[in-house]
Assembly symmetry: C2
Homo-oligomer: 211 residues x 2
Amino acid sequence: MKFPKIPMAAINRLSIYIRALEELEEQGTKVISSERLAKQCGVNPAQIRKDLAYFGEFGVRGVGYRIEDLIREIKEILGLDRTWNIAMIGVGNLGSALIRHGNFIKHGYVFAAAFDIDPHKIGKRLPNGLVIHHIDDLEKVVKECDIHIGVIATPASAAQSVANQLIIAGVNGILNFAPAQIQVPECCHVENVDFTIKLDSIAYHLSTTGT
Amino acid sequence: MKFPKIPMAAINRLSIYIRALEELEEQGTKVISSERLAKQCGVNPAQIRKDLAYFGEFGVRGVGYRIEDLIREIKEILGLDRTWNIAMIGVGNLGSALIRHGNFIKHGYVFAAAFDIDPHKIGKRLPNGLVIHHIDDLEKVVKECDIHIGVIATPASAAQSVANQLIIAGVNGILNFAPAQIQVPECCHVENVDFTIKLDSIAYHLSTTGT
DNA sequence: TGGTGTGAACAACTTCACAGCG
DNA sequence: CGCTGTGAAGTTGTTCACACCA
């Protein structure tokens, strides 16, 4: 296979495969077929083979995939064979809970700085030792701490201006928890985590399929 | 238009349209064209017209859409012309932050109960007045409080068993924050909010487009 | 033999282009 | 005249079916 266009959805599924594979590895499994992995991930077996084939030939015909190797390959594909320094912007309820949340560090994402705009918070120290900086120091701190990803946990009204500041600071990966669509230049990649949309979708399904 | 199959993506966009429309309404705008709304939401104008046409004819040719009416129509479509009682399962960092987070109530989702499995937490009262119940009381409390949606904010390892208990209790809408794929029967609708997947996607983009 | 890798068929979603109506 | 509503075309993503190989 040459240089196919890779569906976004395929990338997201790789993360899901990794989780399943790591679980299997813990249980001591060495090799797995696309069929069994598919069942565990709730997808189609052909989907898995195609997703992996976008990036190379990782399987052994008649056998399956060696789990240890496959985990390493997928991590390399996704750029997870390293750690990523990230910054939290907005240290309110959600922001501080996310910083304390163990899932980031477990996957190699390290909160290297935190920012807010509230004068009462600036200079305070978070439980994990991070000092809260003023948002105006973003560019300086981003450089100092080698930060590549920004997490926006501000109110919706502030999201766009924070995004602008992140981009000026040279950050071009943004995880946006604010319920707002933010506009960014081509070079920057934004992912939205918007649970109001998800809830609305649930409400729709409950409403249409008999409360 | 008769009974077309409605793309999931269209439903999700309706939430985005509502947000933009409510903002416009606050600013005093009365009518808007699909073109202008599209620009604000970052989508194609035809997309908006098609999304809305799945559900009826809400526009006026040569004019556009009356904002007040359109908001009401979309809310009715999504089942947002009422409030929804929801339950939080897992009152850790993330769970308690979400309960305190204002976005749920703002959109008509009311936390009516909270559950955990940690004996030290059972019986404690949250800042908003909710008492933390033991997960084993789920079915009873769900009935008493008329809960239709469950929010899972437990560790991944507990997610599936919590989902099972929710379904037994008669809850068939689940918002899952745990990084795990959960299996549910047809009748139940699950939405996953998995920021590790989103971060991995950002890492991939940063890695492939020159750090 | 059994499971991968993959072209081809299929399905889903998006955008175009324009008829039709206020 | 301008903007909606919509069939048709285009695009993207998924599944099938089987050649191929350890």
